[in-house]
């Protein structure tokens, strides 16, 4: 049914470990490689499947660490070699997305790229497609365009985008300029935002002409831009790529694309937004994972794990079983149990945000073997 969008190329940065999902997520088994929805597929694979109708299989690039190359190629058997961009070490999202923009722009000067995280969950694929198609039309006009998610509840765990004046763009039904970004609000503020239709969740999706994106990077961080251009010039030469990556990549500033592109562009009236009326979650912690898998039934116990052997007596929350042990839960409410061969986590939804602190403590105490 759906046709690929002309000039469009999808970029999937697949980098973050997902520390707040430890011990499920690990350095060698990051969040994007897990099936967190019981779909039978990893989040990365689901992301690919969602994008492929919009691009075709030859126009999706993945930016990932060298260590994850084999796992990524196993998840995405259709990916072409020239669409796998390997980082020698993590340098955050501006470098990752900027690298893809620079390489693709050199190969194809009028390319429009859209970057979509490898480890988010989206339900409502057709609605997602509409939003991307609209965003690409806005991007054609020279804007950096983001997709802001229409909030389904007053979430305090996400940042928000405040819509400004309307943009009239051919082929885009509901585009606006972004007035400003808002940090994670408190509950009262979040309730106001949801009541006011002009606030959308910031899902970190950016659609832009590659030349426009690179110009934004050049304007706000010239040395990052110079490094990316030098990398792109060497990239498609078998002999030059390796040495260029080794020389340049580790010197690039570690910074999020929000600060290098989105916020400066918003200030100069060059950032647009189209609303996304689909279900979206960044699955930032186990509370979010529990909610996602209990389908809104508050007293349910969500179970993840193909071979889970669970005995539950009046328990609710989530249990992730990556061993074949019998797990018995009695009377524990909103519990989070993550059972892996070398590490066990027991907490509650309320304290799920503090899992990152455990990971930090394990690093500090020299127990990185379980990270």
């Amino acid at each position: 049914m759906s046709q690929p969008i002309p000039n469009f190329y999808a970029v999937i940065p697949a980098g973050g470990v997902g520390s707040r999902l430890w011990p499920l997520s690990r350095a060698d088994a990051p969040k994007f490689l897990h099936d967190l929805t019981g779909s039978g597929h990893s989040l990365l694979r689901d992301t690919w499947d969602r994008l492929e109708p919009l691009t075709g299989p030859d126009r999706i690039a993945v930016v990932t660490g060298r260590a994850h190359r084999a796992a990524v190629e196993e998840q995405l058997p259709d990916i072409a070699d020239l669409n796998v961009f390997l980082e020698s070490e993590p340098r955050d999202s501006a470098a990752a997305i900027g690298l893809a923009a620079a390489i693709l722009h050199r190969r194809e000067p009028d390319v429009i790229i859209g970057s979509f995280a490898a480890d988010h969950v989206i339900r409502g694929t057709r609605v997602f497609e509409f939003a991307v198609r609209d965003a690409v039309e806005v991007a054609r006009e020279g804007y950096v365009c983001t997709i802001g998610i229409a909030p389904s509840e007053p979430a305090v765990g996400f940042g928000y985008i405040k819509r400004g004046s309307e943009l009239i763009v051919d082929g885009a039904r509901d585009a606006s300029l972004v007035e400003r970004f808002v940090e994670k609000p408190d509950l009262e503020t979040a309730k106001r935002y949801v009541a006011d239709r002009d606030y959308l969740w910031n899902a970190g999706m950016f659609i832009s002409r590659a030349d426009v994106l690179l110009a934004e990077i050049e304007a706000s961080n010239p040395s990052l831009h110079a490094g990316l251009i030098a990398l792109a010039e060497a990239w498609d030469d078998r002999d030059l790529r390796g040495p260029a990556v080794d020389r340049i990549w580790p010197t690039l500033p570690k910074i999020a694309i929000d600060y290098v592109v989105a916020e400066p562009a918003a200030e100069r009236g060059r950032l647009a937004v189209v609303p996304g009326h689909f279900d979206w979650d960044d699955v930032g912690d186990f509370a979010s994972l529990a909610k996602l898998n209990s389908h809104g039934r508050k007293n349910d116990l969500a179970i993840l794990g193909e071979n889970a052997r669970i005995l539950s007596d009046a328990a609710s929350g989530i249990v992730v079983s990556h061993t074949n042990r019998v797990i018995s839960l009695i009377g524990v409410k909103d519990i989070v149990v993550v059972d892996t061969p070398d590490a066990l986590l027991v907490t509650t939804s309320e304290h799920a945000q503090r899992v990152k602190g455990v990971v930090d403590a394990l690093k500090l105490t020299g127990r990185s073997d379980v990270l």
Copy 2:
């Protein structure tokens, strides 16, 4: 310092699995084989060490299942062969203690036996010794004598003994007749009991002349008595014991000694009690185990397991670690986590009593492999 008590023989029934301590206690690793106090010794061994000054090493008998023989002998290297009484299957406490009484009476007609559970925790060994010495003097007079624990708090998990009129016995400082037994009370009643010094905890310790005990059994359950006598007659004959056990033991009634001896004797004014002013706990469930190991500090996390690798962030309760996994607990209060190679339990002190239900469910669903 202390001399063995003349005519005295200690009997340790080591039978119960301790289902409410699953998955720590198992059919093949019952409660009495575990170190539940961090002493470095099993409860069985601690029981032996407590009794040995009162009897000498040659006068402590253990009644246990055939399956536990090797483990018991490993725990008690000093035990003589003729002091290990093996049951072919569990037949409850009247049969177990009655068997010991019948055998020992046949060997030594004026023996006084005291039975002490293999899986209780006692602190205050000298005070315990005083109580046993007093009880033996009362038993010499032909009473069945129990040791009632002076309550340290209004416990609702134990039965109580109501003291009746005082008994004047040479060598016993504070003996009374038992007026009656009281089932586990509610909290208000328990508070009254503790205020009234005439209520003591029923710890299931019985001290009696073997002939008196056997007469009590004969009076209330003649067929049990007949079976025990027949077993005792065959016991010390190498050729006869095995066939007698196989023939008689499975036919004995499964009944607790409380119903066969203690309650009938109390009704006829033949049951005495001496108070025990020592710390005692039957470690009936994980709530009790947590309390025992947190030494009254309510916000502590008690940790059992030699190689435990625990990361706790604002957690309280108890964690039992029988694997070498890293266990991370965040913000969980009064939690009970029991981590074993093939089974994991997560509950709270409040729900600790319901662990037995899980064991029943595992039996019903054919997962006895983890019991």
